[in-house]
């Protein structure tokens, strides 16, 4: 230890550095054990949260693989740039190496596939006894939500471009305004809602970004799926599958409210006749 006299000063700096590191680690840990979201939504539904975990895992795997390959390319490009006119060794094959970079990706892919299957089975699981079933109809250009007892929420984008929620909504204040465009799909939070999705004309896409979920509404196809919204809230949504002239205005939103409040809202609605009697999918 020839640098003995210098040590106290260094130790001080090191200790401060270590403290900062521990502080960062602790704040990460104590911050609710939150994994970083990598630009994704954490999922407002149980199903959406499962998807989010798969997304984070895949993102990290992609970062590791991409970082490794990217750095290899960068290293090769920088390190082996031409420095002299000497002819490099003309090697071409290395069977062991080639086998390695064939087998390792297969293993990585199979692991990803395993998690994918587990997650997709959970996301796509449909319960035989949902708390509530809503028939959703997509059409050019708008949405219709049919509740039990003939309660219908319906809005057409072309005639009613900016309806903030259904008439007489006694739920939470819908804000911010940009989240509340189009008709509102009112759901109870904490309970499982089943959606029967159909289209009346062309292919549409039912997409709620914060639910981490989308599904096509297609003529001639009934798509069934479940949502269990974790907490009350407002979630913007819109059609994602290109469906013609006013595709970009085919917005809607989901309002999740506590079950009692939802029942109050549902019973307060006037029964209407749905259009689905005259136009079967």
């Amino acid at each position: 230890m020839t640098d003995e006299p210098l040590r106290p000063a260094l130790t001080g700096r090191r200790r401060r550095g270590a403290l900062v590191l521990v502080g960062v680690a602790l704040s990460l840990l104590l911050g609710g054990c939150q994994v970083p979201d990598f630009f994704g939504f954490r999922g407002a539904t149980k199903q959406g949260h499962d998807e989010f975990l798969l997304y984070v895992g895949t993102f990290i795997a992609a970062l590791v693989v991409g970082g490794f390959v990217g750095l290899l390319i960068l290293f090769a490009v920088v390190r082996y740039r031409r420095r002299n006119e000497e002819m490099p060794k003309q090697f071409q094959y290395h069977i062991a190496l080639e086998l390695t970079y064939t087998v390792v990706p297969i293993i990585i892919v199979l692991i990803l596939f395993g998690f994918t299957v587990i997650t997709e089975n959970r996301v796509d699981a449909v319960t035989p006894k949902p708390n509530l079933t809503v028939d959703v109809y997509a059409f050019q250009w708008g949405w219709e939500f049919d509740y039990p007892n003939h309660v219908v929420v319906r809005a057409e984008t072309t005639t009613d471009p900016d309806p903030v929620g259904p008439e007489g909504l006694s739920g939470p204040q819908c804000s911010p305004a940009a989240w509340c465009l189009g008709p509102g799909l009112i759901l109870p939070s904490g309970e499982t809602t089943q959606i029967n999705l159909r289209s009346r004309d062309v292919v549409h896409g039912f997409f709620v970004p914060e639910f981490n979920f989308s599904r096509y509404a297609q003529p001639g196809v009934l798509n069934q799926f479940d949502f269990t919204v974790i907490k009350p809230g407002v979630f913007r949504a819109q059609c994602t599958q290109f469906c013609g002239l006013y595709h970009s205005l085919m917005l809607f939103h989901v309002v999740a409210m506590p079950p009692t409040q939802f029942q109050t809202w549902l019973t307060a609605q006037e029964p209407t006749t749905s259009l689905n009697t005259k136009a079967a999918p």
Binding site: Q92, E98, F207, Q218, H247, S248
Partner: protein
């Protein structure tokens, strides 16, 4: 390996009786693969610039919420035609009509394509198809406005009336037949017109990739043509193949389309992989690392690509998710092999950063990013979130732009001396690359985040207050940087046209037979050929003393020379 007779082929000295027409008449009447190839290259580049200008209008419209540069209808026409032009009329024809037409016969040492007149027919079908598609803008009701995929029933007469969609369908039928004929021509040329000594595993990798691409064309394009012909019948003859009302099945169209559409993605990508695989070894002064593995990787990508179409349909709820997910994920394996082969080729090489090499390195990074997000999309739950959002837009632009533009222009700069016998300006070429490279990342990286924030693709407007505006502004700025970069390309062409710098026959000390021909090659290409003893006969010819390392040895084993000089018999 095989015991083919190997000796230099000396074509009988025949008088140049091909002093045919010159000028415009030559371009219109020729059956020479080089002339037709150049026709293809020029036409597809014109289409590329048209589609690029459309992209700039689209980006301008999306810069701010509720953009008002164009109307909804115009926007829908623009993105439909942008996609259609880029995919059907640029990326494919540029590769398998243009570069392959020009290069493949030269690389296999053939005097021309196997069916020169069929080749000319292909080009004229392609040109008339291109004009037909563009005519959509001239008719009442405007061009097709249902996306380049034309999903039924939106593309049915009920929802998309007018003759614009009909012209679009007709254009697809015409260019579809053009592609099929080119595919037949390429397969026959590669199987039957190879020079003596050129076994399958001595073919240059670009030719390998074009062979596999041509087979994929023969698998995929007939399905597309059939699908759009049925769509036409639905529109005009009341067949109800894709409409529920008449007992048809709309989702059948999606299955047919993507059975074409996913192989199509590789039809657009494999030729460009081939270009990068030609360029990287030459500019690293090394043989391609893992040449045979590369050929097998190409074949397995093609094989897998015919079984993954439904990964475009994960959110339809009508497909078996695990099957298509597994096959889609598995494509990452041969693609990974290609990456490691490219890296292995550069490893301990002697890399010189000519413009073609810069573009190929740009391709590596672009395709790496696009490939990784592709693996994410192959997982159905992740696809549920990102499907039809800007995440997908960013993904396929990074893949296709990475391939068709970075690798495509890499090939264009690489073979430019061969095409014209003159050099381009390196400085302008490098400026082109750097502007393109920066613009590329600035344009597409924000789109990933936009997609994850829930911005759907193909929207003409979006509401304010969603936090999408800043990312859209950045993306638009990037698009204009990309647009600007092509000024350097055009200036470069002009400079080399006005002030020719002779290039010589083999300016890069390259590998494959095309560099043995003169620049530009004479009619019927070769008056003599070097012996073909490996997959790089021209390099062997110019480096008779170089010693290469036998298969399976990493340099520590016994060295065996396979480089061969000109034989004296």
């Amino acid at each position: 390996m095989t015991t083919l007779v190997e000796r230099p082929v000396v074509h009988a000295e025949h008088p140049e009786h091909h002093e045919g027409p010159t000028g415009l008449l030559k371009w219109m009447t020729s059956t020479d693969h080089k002339v037709i190839g150049m026709n293809y290259i020029v036409t597809s580049l014109v289409m590329f610039f048209f589609a690029g200008i459309m992209a700039l209008v689209i980006r301008t419209q999306l810069t701010v919420p509720s953009g008002a540069v164009v109307s909804n209808q115009q926007f829908n026409e623009l993105f439909t035609m942008h996609g259609s032009l880029m995919l059907y009329l640029f990326a494919g024809p540029f590769a398998f009509g243009g570069l392959a037409n020009y290069i493949v016969p030269l690389q296999v040492g053939a005097p021309d394509m196997a069916f020169p007149r069929l080749n000319a027919l292909s080009y004229w079908l392609y040109l008339s198809g291109s004009i037909t598609m563009m005519l959509g803008f001239m008719v009442a009701g405007g061009a097709a406005a249902f996306g380049w995929v034309a999903y039924a029933p939106l593309s049915e007469a009920t929802f998309s009336p007018g003759s614009g969609p009909d012209l679009w369908i007709l254009a697809l039928a015409l260019t579809g037949f053009s592609a099929i004929f080119t595919g037949v021509n390429l397969v026959t040329t590669i199987f039957y017109l190879r020079a003596p000594g050129m076994t399958m595993f001595r073919m240059p990798i670009f030719t390998w990739n074009m062979l596999v691409t041509a087979i994929l064309i023969l698998i995929a394009f007939p399905v597309l043509t059939a699908a759009v012909v049925m769509l036409f019948c639905d529109r005009h003859f009341g067949t109800h193949i894709y409409t529920v009302q008449g007992g048809g099945v709309p989702v059948l169209y999606q299955n047919l389309f993507w059975f074409f559409g996913h192989p199509e993605v590789y039809i657009l990508a494999l030729p460009y992989f081939g270009i990068a695989t030609e360029v990287i070894p030459v500019f690293s002064r090394k043989p391609l690392f893992g040449y045979k593995g590369m050929a097998f990787a190409t074949m397995s990508i093609a094989a897998l690509s015919t079984g993954v179409w439904a990964h475009h349909m994960f959110t339809t709820g009508t497909v078996l998710l695990p099957f298509f997910s597994l096959l889609s994920l598995l494509i990452a394996v041969p693609t990974g092999i290609k990456f490691f082969n490219w890296i292995g080729t550069m490893w301990r090489g002697s890399i010189v950063f000519g413009t073609p090499m810069l573009f190929s390195i740009g391709f590596l990074f672009a395709f790496l990013m696009g490939g990784l997000t592709g693996v994410m999309l192959a997982s159905p739950p992740i696809d549920f979130v990102t499907h039809d959002t800007y995440f997908v837009v960013a993904h396929f632009h990074q893949v296709l732009f990475g391939s068709a533009v970075f690798a495509g222009f890499s090939g264009l700069y690489f073979w430019y001396p061969k095409f014209f016998g003159r050099m381009y300006n390196e400085t302008l070429g490098k400026l082109h690359f750097w502007f393109l490279f920066i613009g590329f990342w600035v344009t597409f990286m924000p789109q990933y985040e936009l997609g994850l924030k829930g911005m759907p693709r193909r929207v003409a407007t979006y509401p304010a207050g969603l936090g999408w505006q800043n990312l859209n502004i950045v993306s638009t700025v990037g698009a204009f940087i990309i647009g600007f970069s092509f000024v350097f390309f055009l200036v470069n062409l002009w400079v080399s046209w006005r002030k020719p710098v002779p290039a010589g026959d083999n300016p890069w000390d390259a590998h494959a037979l095309e560099w043995f021909a003169t620049s530009p090659p004479v009619h019927h290409n070769f008056t003599k050929l070097p012996p073909v003893r490996s997959e790089r006969p021209v390099w062997d010819f110019h480096h008779p003393d170089a010693r290469t390392i036998e298969h399976g040895h990493n340099g520590h084993g016994q060295l065996v020379g396979t480089g061969a000089g000109p034989r004296q018999d």
